[in-house]
């Protein structure tokens, strides 16, 4: 019952064709779905305006009926937005509103094994009824956003108040901000405003002021006007989608197995096992 070379190659060709066909499907799935209302909407957070009052946190808590026990400045399964404060070299506290960035190339969507994390329009939402709580989105998110509690629990994060948006309202954090540091609007319009603001900030003594989220991960749903470089706030300078190299990784793994066939080939090709003792398939059959 030896495996013939023809059988081997036929099977290989069949499997490769099947794998190729499946892989074709693959990398289209992470593309951003069409904006929910035809125009891409976004949040713009201006850290130069933020006074750290945490009203955005309060708005989020109320809207989502979350408990108030939380560690200040830290995202958690119940804290979907959190103001983090970092002192700069002059001792001035600079604020950053953390939350899900609703990435176009969202790692959570790409790695979610059940498709519970998915794009709804331009927003990334985790279906709580479908999430199995594997934690993969937590390992994959470049911003460390999704969190789970003790089992049984699902991955939790900001939903962009998608139900409110669908009914024509705006996200709770933007609504709660008393000074307009967090604004919701058409992304292209917010972008123009933000670019002008960054230019002004440079003139006002913030030479490192910059806009974050325009092109990162093919464009984020939450953009930041930062006074310092992203690393100062603990943001990744060049966030990458977790599955960016996944095909290369499958290939390197499989190629390694191919290379490791060599020791087997070399050591077994001249094998002089006295196979007379071996029970052959034919002998086993009646």
């Amino acid at each position: 019952m030896g495996l013939t070379r023809k059988d081997f190659f036929l099977s290989s060709a069949g499997l490769c064709a099947a794998a190729g066909g499946l892989a074709r499907n693959d990398f289209v799935s992470t593309a951003l779905a069409k904006p929910l209302n035809g125009t891409r909407m976004a949040l713009l957070y201006d850290s130069s305006k933020c006074i750290g009052c945490r009203m955005c946190e309060e708005g989020c808590i109320k809207k989502n009926n979350q408990p108030r026990e939380r560690e200040l400045g830290q995202l958690s399964k119940t804290a979907w937005t959190a103001i983090k404060s970092t002192p700069n070299s002059k001792g001035k506290k600079l604020f950053l509103k953390q939350q899900c960035m609703h990435c176009t190339d969202a790692s959570c969507v790409a790695v979610c094994p059940t498709k519970a994390a998915a794009h709804h329009g331009e927003y990334v939402v985790i279906d709580q009824e479908w999430c199995i709580g594997c934690g993969y989105c937590e390992e994959a998110c470049p911003f460390g956003v999704p969190h789970r509690g003790e089992p049984p629990d699902t991955s939790q994060k900001c939903t962009f108040c998608i139900k409110d948006i669908e009914s024509g309202s705006i996200p709770a954090c933007a609504e709660a901000c008393p000074i307009g540091a967090t604004t919701f609007g058409v992304r292209s319009e917010l972008l123009t405003t933000a670019e002008n603001k960054v230019q002004n900030l440079a003139k006002l003594g913030w030479p490192k002021a910059q806009l974050y989220g325009v092109n990162e991960l093919s464009g984020l749903g939450v953009m930041y006007i930062l006074l310092e470089p992203p690393a100062f706030y603990g943001l990744p300078e060049q966030p990458r989608q977790a599955t960016k190299n996944v095909l290369t990784q499958w290939i390197t793994g499989s190629l390694t197995a191919a290379v490791l066939m060599l020791p087997f080939w070399f050591l077994y090709k001249h094998k002089s096992d006295k196979d007379k003792q071996l029970v052959k398939f034919k002998e086993g059959t009646k």
Binding site: L3, L15, C131, P142, G253, P263, D273, L278
Partner: protein, 295 residues
């Protein structure tokens, strides 16, 4: 924060070992021109329960284990966990089908020639699925944003190398303990040599992986690597991985390099001991990489 703990370590170790044992047995039979497939079937008797236990550990790690079936109503091809779950099912199905057909070969009303051909296709399909299953154990971690796992493309090669060494080692272990070596003496002698070569390659891959991490310039990559070499995980890394999984078994394998398995009791005992070291070392390797990536 530790998101993935010991259950994931055990799942990746067992799944890799099951696939590695299949691959080792398949190649030994293919290149050694064995025709009875007894080695391959032994690999399956080890691999099927291992893979199943691995799946149980994987499910135990879910926050909602009873929702596990959500994994199997769709496929997310970019998600290594989704693909890996399907690979595990596919591998187990093929393996069980092989065993079933083998045992029922005289009772199934199909011509023997056709049955042989079907089984040959299954053996080959099992080989390819094994390769992917071994790769999955590394790709699962590499497709993340943890610097230790994702900064290079060398984690899948490292885990594949470890899967093959542990898979071949578990075959040797079972072969020696069950006295299968009395029939397949030469096959096991060669298998011992294969493992000796593979663990050296594993060491080389590990060194290149560390070198690449240290030069990647990705924030956190170097610090994570230092956790393994001089930090909290240094003891399990040096004792469990470098010494137990690589150096000690290599020394034992080399000491018995040319000797026939049945030549001396010590050869059998040393093969059992060195294989046990490789198998357990494979678990420690996965544990230090998985925990190291999350500290």
């Amino acid at each position: 924060m530790i998101t993935w703990g010991f259950p994931v370590c055990i799942d990746l170790w067992l799944a890799g070992m099951a696939a590695g044992a299949y691959l080792a047995a398949f190649l030994a039979e293919r290149f050694g021109k064995h025709t009875d497939h007894r080695l391959l079937h032994t690999a399956l008797y080890i691999g099927i329960p291992s893979a199943m236990v691995g799946v149980i550990f994987l499910l135990a790690d879910l926050s909602h284990p009873l929702r596990f079936w959500h994994l199997f109503v769709s496929v997310n091809f970019t998600s290594p966990m989704s693909v890996g779950s399907w690979l595990l099912v596919l591998w187990t199905t093929i393996s069980m089908l092989i065993i079933f057909l083998w045992h029922m070969r005289n009772r199934i009303p199909i011509k023997q020639v056709i049955l042989k051909r079907i089984m040959n296709y299954l053996y080959t399909a099992g080989f390819f699925v094994s390769v992917l299953l071994m790769s999955y154990t590394g790709v699962l971690l590499a497709a993340s944003n943890q610097p230790l796992w994702a900064s290079t493309v060398l984690l899948p090669p490292l885990f594949v190398t470890s899967a093959i060494s542990t898979g071949a080692a578990v075959l040797i272990f079972v072969g020696m303990v069950s006295r299968m070596w009395k029939i397949y003496g030469e096959t096991f002698r060669r298998m011992v040599q294969v493992v000796a070569v593979v663990i050296v390659i594993e060491l080389v891959v590990l060194l290149v992986y560390f070198f690449w991490l240290s030069r990647s310039g990705i924030p956190g990559a170097y610090e994570s690597m230092r956790q393994l070499i001089t930090g909290e995980l240094a003891a399990p890394f040096w004792l469990g991985v470098v010494l137990m999984a690589i150096l000690l078994p290599f020394a034992l394998y080399i000491a018995n390099w040319g000797k026939k398995v049945g030549e001396h009791r010590l050869v059998v005992a040393s093969s059992i001991a060195s294989s046990a070291c490789v198998i357990l070392g494979g678990l420690v390797l996965r544990a230090v990489i998985i925990f190291g990536g999350q500290i």
